[in-house]
Subunit: 119 residues, 2 copies
Amino acid sequence: MEQDKNDTCQELCINASIVEEVNEKMMENATHHDLASLFKTLGDHTRIRIINALYHSELCVCDITAILKMNQSAVSHQLRVLRAAKIVKNRKEGKNVYYSLDDEHIYNLVSLGLEHVSE
Amino acid sequence: MEQDKNDTCQELCINASIVEEVNEKMMENATHHDLASLFKTLGDHTRIRIINALYHSELCVCDITAILKMNQSAVSHQLRVLRAAKIVKNRKEGKNVYYSLDDEHIYNLVSLGLEHVSE
DNA sequence: TTAACACATGAACACATGCTCATATGTTAG
DNA sequence: CTAACATATGAGCATGTGTTCATGTGTTAA
């Protein structure tokens, strides 16, 4: 006569009504996925530094490489990730490719994150 | 007579003054690290779902386990990560441990992230 | 005390991630 | 055309991360 719940939790401990309510209010799984994806992209030391550099000015790959003191390949790889996430956009000018932040959402997100960090 | 710059970039391509200026304006390395850390913690499907669940109500581990339909060990491990990042706090009540969001920074951060995602 | 339960945690494993190295692409100068 | 250069990209490797399984800890009830 047991409910066919998972076996770890006996249903005794949980407030079933609250669980059900939360389940209804929860965002969709796809949304969770996208959100986690966005934060994951922001959650890397190198990428945060790139974003921070672009905070102030449009920069070409070469500039970024110099600022981060990393090799060009590593920077390009990370720029690719940021591009895929639509966090940065790029513009070609002759041999150079200039990168900049794609929208101010990111700027705001990072700023807000900063508040949490530097409390 | 070459500058002792890295060899990838000949200094010809970069706007040295801008690079220098950006270098000055950049946040400290420790800050980058903390910021990346915070976002990395938020950048996981399971953890985002936990946070989203706690958006609405304080919940015990057992509740969360039921909501996420995951095994209790996995949930506990992730709660530990969230605790370490000061994203959630917990409160003991008898055999149960109730978790809730530690501050509203996180709520705001996730909300802002949501705006970027659902454009 | 002992049994039952909620939760925490260490070890092990599969998989993802970031870097480096080598090389490819595309543009400009000569 | 070819050489030089800025950037992109694939492969390989070392390290990090999330889950599961087994077990430990702490609390309540009998």
